[in-house]
Subunit: 236 residues, 2 copies
């Protein structure tokens, strides 16, 4: 190997290091909501996000969060009135779209509504294992679990229900999808409205779990909110 070659690989190594450092910073900034409204993963971070999603760190992050949520659940003193409620988002909270996003360079390509519609209609997304575990625990403890999704009701009600059942999500109180009235509204406004209705029905929202800040911000967010990681896309 020539000195030139060595220099080059050295330089390449330094670039990889810098890029890794930048992508770690980018992911952190996205996760804490310092960066908002982004449309695609920065091109220099495509590989980093792929490694994050598939290489074990995403799984590790989810496991630790679900452990935290479980400890919180254990501390809750339930009432006898059956109005203790919990909110879960669907996409990339209960069901993983990772196989779909694999074909979209893990967020490197912009949102493709038609392709996503086809994917979601097939109803073949996998459960996210630690969240399924949490879901089961919530059901067993007697929580009324509401799944609130931004998916369109007319198109997606049947495939989403099938997908959830097929993956083991049984016994939730309601799957709430976006009806005509809320079409075009931001996730934050629509989901706040859905939660408001539950609170007006008398439910106490103890916890709220989602992969987007728009699941967790706004009104009636619940006693505790938990943000799951998602460096692949942003929903306002």
């Amino acid at each position: 190997m020539s000195t030139k070659g060595l220099d080059h690989s050295h330089y390449g190594g330094r670039l990889v290091e810098l890029s890794l450092s930048y992508c770690l910073s980018w992911r952190l900034a996205v996760e804490v909501n310092n960066i908002q409204g982004w449309r695609t993963v920065p091109i220099q971070c495509l590989y980093d996000v792929e490694v994050y999603m598939l290489g074990g760190q995403y799984a590790s992050d989810l496991n630790l969060i679900v452990d935290q949520i479980s400890s919180y659940v254990d501390e809750i003193v339930m009432s006898e009135d059956g109005m203790d409620a919990w909110i879960l988002d669907v996409d990339d909270t209960c069901l993983s779209n990772i196989f779909y996003y694999k074909g979209k360079r893990f967020g490197g390509d912009p949102y493709d509504p038609q392709a996503f519609k086809e994917w979601a209609s097939r109803g073949i997304a996998r459960a996210i294992p630690p969240i399924l575990r949490l879901f089961q625990k919530l059901i067993d403890r007697g929580f009324k679990v509401f799944l609130i999704s931004g998916r369109d009701e007319t198109t997606f009600e049947q495939p989403t229900l099938h997908n959830l059942h097929f993956q083991g999500f049984f016994g939730f109180e309601r799957l709430i999808l976006r009806s005509e009235t809320y079409k075009g509204q931001s996730g934050m406004v629509y989901k706040s409205e859905m939660r408001r209705k539950l609170v007006e029905e008398g439910y106490r929202i103890w916890g709220n779990v989602g992969d987007q800040w728009s699941d967790l911000h706004g009104q009636f967010v619940g006693n505790r909110t938990f943000k799951l990681p998602n460096p692949m896309y942003f929903v306002p």
Copy 2:
């Protein structure tokens, strides 16, 4: 080297890897506020936090956030009335306590009020360079910058002012410290109260930057909030 030795180092490597993965997950969970009320850094993450703080990633994270904040600042259309305001926290936002926490195992030891009092009274904390840069930009653009700190007014007013000036923070509108009235209140309640007063005075809070969620949650949080990383301690 014996096979046994190889096995051992292999096993050790795997343990280090697992611990690294856990500590990455722990830091992420802390940063997004999924873990709250923690008193010390988990013992297996002391080294990870030290490497994070001193090894360059903390600096990289700060730089990227400040770049984001700067882009946001550039978009703000200022008024002529001089009431465009910005809020900065002090400890580990403007001034770094990293040298102090070096002596406290980077958060491995529980909060030590007496030792921290002695440190803060010396007024020798360093400016956090990217935040000083942001501060200067805000002043240059004509923002009224308010520094809101949970530090006790009676004890810390003079050393904090000296420290800030000595580190290059000139031209802020007010340094707001905790007066007797707010002693014992949580950071979130106290800081919300301070911001309420500013809003009642007619200020428009465009941005709010802090290293603790208690700086950024509550009331009158501002048009945009930005969370700086801090894996060393938690303030409620």
